[in-house]
């Protein structure tokens, strides 16, 4: 879409101009032949090849992806009578080969245009067709390959929005009943949770991984049938992980957002959906008090880190809302807000609102 991050190019010379005009002619000619083929209902291999040529040139031309779907649909629905039994529909081998070829065709395109929605959509359409037309074992193979592929993509660009979304889609397909040989769904939550740990260990600033973790934990604990103690232990481990990370990078907002997520556990407003919904008020107060002391320790040597003040403010409010007296008589919330207004003038409007709410 549009020209994100495109640096300026040199103005064209006459020779470039001629070349450009030839390219336009070639491009428009190709577009016309593809469209003629579709309008004439020529769902043939030749038309398919023309769409390949065009899509390699311009994968954003969404109508051409649709043409390609129509051609494949036609081939699946009207198989060559010489090689198939018309009653039984397309033979699995033909479908498998076709889908396999299609998936391979897309790889270089995805590498070149990793943010093009239409390629990802088309790929998912093919995979869903594999589920629809093939046996569980055959289709499962395709989906499993996708998990490996998306893992590779995310190792190249660990924040790719499409990549993470695609991964969740592939995982939920592999978990679905339609792809189970035994007919019962199998969960991949533990494996995916481990995957977020690996990604975080590679790069702490990966908010995509922290986000996915936040979505997986409640499911993971439910699936483990975790009791109160198991949930508390799990929470303690997550707190330890984020505290270590914050000591290493207190300016990293990804980490503070995950810290905020963990603090939901102690907040009446959010606790019901958290990883430990049944903590008592006393337990919550103890946790929050401990967090206040730990976050305050981080100030030592990082007095200009605005995130620490933000966290101290919300923790102090939380502590008060749990029915406790303020821990620190000498430093009031207003003092932290005053620091924030100094350190973070871009968001002064927010801190002024907070000031008028707390006083």
């Amino acid at each position: 879409m549009a020209s994100h991050g495109v640096p300026r190019v040199q103005p064209a010379t006459d020779r470039d101009q001629k070349k450009e005009q030839q390219k336009i002619k070639d491009y428009k000619g190709l577009v016309d032949s593809v469209n003629d083929g579709i309008r004439g209902y020529q769902c043939t291999t030749k038309t398919l090849e023309l769409t390949s040529k065009l899509l390699k040139w311009n994968p954003e031309y969404y109508t051409i992806w649709n043409h390609r779907r129509l051609i494949l649909k036609h081939q699946f629905e009207h198989p060559d009578p010489q090689v198939t039994n018309a009653v039984a529909g397309p033979d699995h081998e033909t479908v498998m080969n076709t889908i396999s070829d299609e998936l391979a065709f897309l790889i270089p395109l995805l590498r070149k245009f990793p943010k093009c929605y239409w390629i990802w959509n088309y790929r998912l359409w093919l995979l869903k067709d594999s589920t629809r037309l093939l046996s569980v074992l055959e289709a499962r193979k395709f989906w499993q390959q996708e998990l490996a592929l998306v893992g590779k993509m995310l190792s190249l660009d660990s924040r790719n929005f499409h990549g993470w979304g695609y991964r969740r889609t592939v995982v939920s397909a592999l978990e679905s009943i339609a792809l189970q040989a035994e007919g019962s769904a199998t969960s991949m939550t533990e494996i995916e949770f481990e995957y977020t740990t690996r990604m975080i260990n590679l790069n702490l600033s990966n908010f995509s991984a922290w986000h996915n973790r936040s979505k997986l934990i409640p499911i993971l604990l439910d699936e483990r049938g975790a009791d109160h103690l198991a949930r508390r232990n799990f929470l303690d481990e997550e707190l330890e992980l984020i505290e270590r990370a914050l000591w290493a990078g207190s300016e990293d907002q990804s980490l503070w957002f995950y810290h905020q997520y963990l603090m939901c556990t102690f907040d009446r407003k959010y606790a019901a959906e958290s990883m430990a919904p049944d903590l008592t008020t006393t337990e919550r107060s103890t946790y929050v008090r401990e967090q206040i002391l730990k976050v305050r320790d981080m100030l030592d040597g990082a007095e200009d880190c605005k995130w620490i003040y933000q966290s101290l403010i919300s923790l102090s409010i939380l502590y008060r809302d749990l029915g406790n007296e303020s821990i620190e008589k000498e430093v009031a919330i207003e003092d932290y807000i005053a620091e924030l207004i100094k350190l973070d003038p871009l968001r002064a409007g927010r801190w002024n609102d907070l000031k008028s709410q707390t006083t």
Partner: protein
């Protein structure tokens, strides 16, 4: 309307030094947008045909916000839009391109902006009822979500688009609004933001679509405003620009996605509007017109539109007020929404 980027470059004349007092070069932007359809001798003009109808929406809306609503021929605009329609009511990106939610929504917005929605019944390939039905039929009855077209891609962008266009047509009755709202809630995250589908990471663009969809149906009460406002305000980076997710680079288009979302939840003052305006102005090409994603990059009509809409949102002097929910001139949405349903 061409989606060709360039020829100008944001901040072209600045030569590394940016003066403190930057001006919005209104006349240059108008000329730039007017020139876009004359670039058929560039390959990129043909390579971007799949965005042509969006391009008209971006260019036309920018011109309206700049106070030059008549800079493009009204009749030619209507003719082009109608030439993109299919018999099922939907619109494609250009004549011969398949119908899709995105272009159908833009078509309704454009016709509404030039006060020509009645042309659908007069000389469209399909009338208003069919346009509404095309959109409504893309709703998933089970989940309340919307697909982009018959091939089934689902995204909160399409849900927003559907509610946007149907509300302008006074046809929201055709869809299950409460299921759509439930779907949006399923896309909410702990940080107050929303993703492209349930489970997906918060992203400023998707936040705009979800919050605006809730605004259209009067359900902003469901938004965790303080938490979302906090997350959105952290999108502003020291140079004044906004990014779309934590630790990503700033881009002029997020001036709109982030700014409008903050405006809808009454927290636009949680970012620094002056610094944002300075950033957008630095992305202009002061000589040839147009706005780029970042200073130094090529300009294009997409960023020109969202840059100007962003400036309008923060009340930049001389611009027509934009509606944060619809991204159309406020006067236009007021006129369309108050029209009695006939």
């Amino acid at each position: 309307m061409s989606l060709v980027s360039g020829p100008g470059r944001g901040g072209a004349s600045a030569g590394g030094h940016v003066p403190d007092e930057l001006k919005l070069v209104v006349e240059k932007h108008v000329e730039y947008i007017q020139s876009l359809d004359t670039r058929q001798d560039e390959l990129e003009y043909w390579l971007t045909e799949h965005l042509r109808l969006n391009g008209v929406y971006w260019g036309l809306t920018a011109l309206h916000l700049l106070g030059h609503p008549d800079a493009l021929s009204r009749l030619a605009t209507i003719d082009f839009i109608l030439s993109c329609q299919h018999e099922n009511g939907g619109f494609g990106a250009a004549p011969g391109h398949d119908a899709h939610m995105l272009y159908t929504v833009s078509a309704v917005q454009i016709l509404g902006t030039v006060d020509a929605l009645e042309e659908l019944d007069r000389r469209g390939k399909a009338g208003t009822e069919k346009v509404g039905k095309y959109i409504a039929d893309l709703q998933n009855q089970e989940t309340g979500s919307f697909a982009g077209d018959q091939w089934g891609e689902t995204d909160t962008r399409f849900l927003y688009g559907a509610l946007n266009a149907l509300s302008l047509l006074h046809m929201l009755r055709l869809v299950n609004v409460s299921k759509a709202v439930t779907h949006i809630q399923a896309c909410a995250n702990f940080d107050g933001g929303y993703g492209v589908s349930p489970g997906a990471e918060s992203h400023a663009g998707q936040i705009f679509t979800c919050v605006a969809a809730l605004a259209i149906v009067g359900r902003l009460d469901l938004v965790d405003k303080d938490r979302l406002g906090g997350w959105l305000s952290e999108r502003q980076v020291p140079n004044g620009g906004l990014n779309g997710r934590p630790e990503k680079v700033e881009d002029v288009c997020y001036s709109w996605w982030v700014g409008s979302s903050l405006a809808m939840i009454d927290r636009l003052h949680w970012i620094n509007g002056d610094k944002l305006a300075q950033f957008i102005l630095r992305c202009q090409d002061p000589e040839k017109g147009g706005i780029a994603d970042r200073p130094g990059d090529m300009v294009d009509v997409f960023h020109t539109h969202f840059g100007i809409a962003g400036l309008s949102l923060i009340g930049f002097p001389g611009l027509i007020a934009v509606d944060p929910i619809y991204c159309m001139p406020r006067e236009v949405t007021k006129r369309l929404l108050s029209k009695l349903n006939t």
